[in-house]
Symmetry: C2
Subunit: 724 residues, 2 copies
């Protein structure tokens, strides 16, 4: 452990409460005394209720978070959360990306990209007992899994009483608790304002996960509804939605040490894995995924030369994969360097020790813990084969063929029995994916990736093989994949891509409506391949569901044991992130990334000037640079900086999905937007280290300054309630 | 200007005194009130006297600084200052470089590398009047230069009354003042202790000029003298020198904000250039030098493949050139980015304004200022030719031939009239250079560099050419240097290197003793080339001396004007560094290298663990790493860090030559050794920026810890006086 606490002593006040935790709103009342001591000025009871202020200002944008900031449906979120809408409207003439966009009137507000939605929680119901009473001890493995899926569908279906209502069942702590969320689903979403990419994406991928950071990662949507106030598809007659509440925006901002609170929808964390699960993840699953990912990146780069059509199509995908690869590398390195596994083993030993100390506990929990160990052991078999088959998702057209084939099969069942992802409610999403496909793939690159993955597949031992796949590509174990055989394989793939009609966008989309028999009769080689693989995929899925079922039986007991153990030590527990609304609390604080270096909690507009090169991602707009040149203290309530702050760091515990989440001060005023975490926080999905886990926030003062001094967004400044 | 002062406010106490200044000891009494207020506890009067404590503990190692730290001649300095002695004794068997060296007894102490010396100042005399009274207004240009050189030789010669005495004349402020220094020259220098290269060079070139830094840059020499106490060449009968005083070593060290003081021999700064001189330097001289340097580096790399004999020979030289190139790039970039030139112009305008405000001042100073402008204009002509001819120094054997030829010519004059560098007193140094030459050069690489430089030369206009050089290589202006001609040129160079006998070490050295006629008659092609170039070189030198003479006439007036102007504004002035003993004062402070980042003033042994890779330059010895694993607060008086500090930053104003200089606390105890400056200090040779100019010091606590816990150097720990 790094003992250097030179600055810690100097800068960190006596915060005894750990800032770890993505708390369920209902847990907040028990944290209230601590929160109040740290600066919270609204009562814990309020924060605990999803349908009261301030939680009822928080919305999910599916993958991002946002907040209402006016009485007329204005939603603030991250620039990168509205990126698809900007790209949708940007062209060589409109130049939305380059110049940014500001709708001077309501009429000028632009429809967001297809599929955009704003989800506002209306009701939350604890349905744990309803579910658990159905889960008899006899329900094992896949049966248990299917029972839960059946209950999920029934609950959701009963809840979704009208078109504008979307319901979801959230499982907590591996199935120890279940909550049913009822959300208003607003689908007429419009783009109101986004700064230029040189502001909103300043630093781009280079600066991602990095500090010092200077990204103006904010933008505004507006929620529109029908004249009756109910959600409705886009229509020019629609009117701005009147949210139940909205956040005031602070022009005073925060200072170092200030209390902050983040309301958002973190997607997933793995804090409560068992030691064996953690080890499997880091010693097998992640390294395997990373290996295939690295090779796919290499192939994409090799076969999408600069300025080629391929390059344009793969740019975004490649950037995404590279980012993920970079982050996974950091994750793996951090795990290697840290004693995370060791700590996890020790915690587990302590838990076991506590369980064994009392016969009742031992009888209740020990078998589940031991069974969990065995289950993890089993998971490591077939791992390579399964990871490899998953990697085939990178061959997009082939992946689409598989999805379409599966979709047709699922349509044979009643809607309520269909697999999640293939129900009626999922069809629009599938259409959207299929429509976008041709802009992001090229047969040439697909063939190279498929060929590489089949080579990898060919090296699997006989027991791991998929006979129909072997037959389809003539790849049976024991056969040599020598140079001629390899050429033959590539030739076959080339012929498949020549013969398939799925490369035609309309044809591809049309298959979504085709019934199952049409697939069996099709001569399309990609659909034939999908058909050949279907039984194996189904078998694999069933195997997975069996495992899931076992996990759903054991994990709640393991988590119950852990919770009881923690409670016995006066430790509070919070469930892993699962996409539901959470509250994270922390304070504005820098950190020491390495010996001799301290990252200060604020960056300023002067840092933009130092980084600006004129070339993306460091192309700060000229108008902004000249505004900075004349910026002064009075522009932002940041006397302690002497200029306008841009981004700040906090100890708040966040992860992906939190993007765009409101960062509030103790009075529940918006002081920033969460948009990233530092690279030291990547391991945070597995363990929160108070010394280095830091969230990166956009500063509300920067947002207001940019709106006022650079982008002339006075209409919105007047619409919002700004606390000066 | 960066307005970010977030941490500044938090961390910087109310230090109102600027830490700029490499003060002459005699200036210190006037600074005393300020120094006392900041923590100095010894009286200013003492610091002002070169022959009293603590200044009489400070020694020059020619290019480095050092200090006596025991009554028996123990000298502490930087590891990199004794590097040549370590290499001299290191071999595959002794492994001094890998393992370090510790002499367990006096008898085991090893003779330092040839040419090592320790110079202790014994007397200092202001000889300004003596010199200036000889400089009549009629003495202009080269005559003035030669007059000063003549006076220099006379004064030095009269001062060097015995073999162990070395005298030097130092010129301050461009000739406004002159001091004659009398120094005891101890030549029996022995290596006592140096840690392993994995400590002393930890971080190597990669970390040079960088923070965070973890270099254990310390080592110990001992001064030996004859039994009579007088300097004498190495002899086994020699005894440790008893210095007039020595420094106590602090085991308590410093904390952030603490006062520090550096005693050392900074080589050269350019703070008092005129605006025109500064512009010439940055717009012409440095870019030209950098261009030739970059090309020479490229050629050395191309023609010294890894693991080749060439690689070994050029490794050190290449590393040195690359470092210089890196630093010059930073220097040029900083100049471009900063408003240094603008500030200099403004200062000069203010000076001119002040001069013109009073007729007496105007009459006295204005002509000199205007003449300086003209002189700088003249200097920019012939600049490319002269820079190019200087670059030929990189062709080492050729350079040696030129030196030998010149040496023979100089020997024709009485010793006192010979050029500096060729007098009797300089012959041993020349021998040493010639002896080392063959280990650092390869004909193949020399030919490539010579060929490149001649190509560059060929592009010069007719007016810039050297007729004899044109003739020698058939390179007259207007001739085409096409592919055949280029091949011919390379062939000629190859033949020269085949035919020359100078590649034989003994032959090369023997020429130092040959009289001038032997050179004229020699058929050696390199000596013939040297002869051919001699008249042009002499002419160039005389031209330079003429310029120098003009400068020696004008600069003192310009500096006198500047001083008077500053005095009128209650500003203290200090002369540019010139290799004489100076005192710098400052405090322990971190800095903000860029927006959002703060460099803390201390690094710790934990940072070594984080950097250690096992491979040089990050090969921390195993013994050290295991000592760190058990290190604790009680090992070093650094409770505020919780572990052992390694290096620290201060605002003290230092530059090259200060390496190894004692860093003292207010009680004049040794708390560290200066060994580098951060990259933001490179521009410091031209301008001191209090926000970012930082010296890097080895922490005395780390030195004592390493000696005690890792290297078992108890003999020295007992010999020194350690303040606990």
């Amino acid at each position: 452990m790094n003992k250097v606490r030179w600055l810690a002593l100097l800068l960190f006040s006596a915060n005894v409460m750990a800032d770890e935790g993505m708390w369920l709103p209902q847990q907040l009342p028990e944290l209230e005394p601590e929160l109040t001591a740290r600066g919270l000025r609204i009562e814990g009871q309020n924060i605990a209720k999803l349908t009261e202020f301030p939680l009822n200002t928080s919305v999910s944008l599916k993958g991002c978070s946002g907040s209402f900031v006016s009485a007329t449906g204005l939603v603030v979120t991250n620039y990168h959360c509205v990126n698809s809408s900007i790209l949708h409207h940007s062209s060589n003439t409109t130049k939305l990306l380059q110049d940014g966009f500001f709708a001077a009137t309501l009429q000028q507000e632009l429809p967001a990209a297809a599929g955009s939605k704003i989800l506002l929680t209306q009701q939350v119901e604890n349905v744990t007992r309803q579910i658990q009473q159905e889960l008899t001890p006899q329900l094992l493995g896949r049966d248990r899994f299917e029972k839960i899926e059946q209950l999920r569908k029934e609950l959701v279906s009963a809840c979704e009483t009208s078109a504008g209502i979307r319901c979801s069942l959230y499982s907590y702590d591996g199935g120890l608790a279940y909550y049913l969320l009822k959300q208003l689903e607003i689908t007429d979403v419009r783009l109101v304002y986004a700064p230029a990419a040189g502001v909103g994406q300043f630093g781009g991928d280079i600066d991602q996960r990095m500090w010092p950071r200077h990204t103006g990662d904010f933008a505004f949507y507006r929620a529109y509804v029908g004249k009756d106030g109910q959600p409705a598809p886009y229509h020019s007659d629609n009117v701005p939605f009147a949210p139940p509440a909205f956040l005031k925006v602070s022009a005073k901002g925060v200072q170092a040490q200030d209390f902050v609170m983040v309301l958002g929808y973190p997607t997933q964390t793995y804090r409560h894995l068992t030691a064996a699960e953690l080890k499997l993840q880091f010693s097998q699953i992640l390294p395997l995924q990373q290996q295939y990912r690295a090779d796919i990146i290499r192939l994409m780069q090799q076969h999408s030369a600069e300025n080629s059509a391929e390059n344009l199509r793969y740019q975004a995908r490649l950037a995404g994969l590279q980012n993920r690869s970079k982050n996974t590398n950091i994750l793996l390195e951090t795990y290697q360097r840290s004693a995370l596994q060791q700590r996890k083993e020790q915690q587990q030993q302590a838990l076991l020790h506590w369980i064994k100390a009392e016969p009742g506990r031992q009888a209740r929990f020990l078998p589940a813990l031991l069974d969990m160990e065995r289950l993890v052991q089993q998971q490591s078999s077939n791992l390579q084969r399964n990871t490899l088959l998953q990697a085939f998702d990178a061959v997009q057209l082939f992946s689409a063929a598989r999805q379409l084939y599966r979709n047709a099969q699922e349509q044979l069942k009643p809607d309520s029995e269909r697999e999640v992802g293939f129900q009626q409610r999922d069809q629009a999403g599938l259409s959207a994916t299929l429509t976008e496909l041709h802009n992001t793939m090229s047969p040439q690159v697909e063939i190279e990736i498929a060929c590489y993955l089949l080579q990898q597949y060919h090296q699997l031992p006989a027991a791991e093989r998929v006979p129909l796949l072997d037959k389809f590509f003539n790849l049976a174990a024991g056969t040599a994949l020598d140079q001629p055989a390899l050429l033959q394989l590539k030739l076959q793939l080339q012929q498949m891509y020549q013969q398939t009609k799925l490369t035609d966008a309309a044809t591809l989309l049309a298959w979504q409506q085709q019934p199952a028999p049409a697939f069996s009769q099709s001569q399309d080689p990609l659909l034939q391949l999908a058909a050949a693989l279907y039984p194996a995929e189904l078998a694999r899925e069933q195997q997975q569901q069996t495992n899931e079922g076992k996990l759903l039986q054991l994990k709640p007991l393991v988590m119950a044991a852990l919770q009881a153990f923690k409670a016995s030590q006066q430790q509070k527990n919070y469930p892993d992130a699962n996409g539901s609304l959470r509250v994270s609390v922390g304070s504005v604080q820098g950190y020491q990334p390495r010996d001799g270096v301290y990252y200060t909690p604020f960056t300023t507009v002067q840092g933009i000037v130092a980084k600006a090169t004129g070339t993306a991602p460091f192309a700060a707009p000229a108008a902004q640079l000249s505004a900075i040149a004349t910026a002064n203290v009075s522009d932002a309530a940041a006397d302690f900086l002497g200029t306008v702050p841009v981004n700040f760091l906090s100890t708040a515990d966040t992860t992906a999905g939190n993007s765009g989440a409101a960062t509030l001060n103790g009075q529940a005023e918006l002081v920033g937007l969460l948009f990233d975490g530092v690279s030291e926080s990547i391991i945070g999905d597995y363990e929160y280290d108070p010394a280095t886990n830091r969230s990166i926030h956009l500063d509300s003062r920067y947002m207001l300054w940019q709106m006022d001094k650079v982008d002339g967004a006075s209409r919105l400044l007047q619409e919002m309630v700004i606390v000066r």
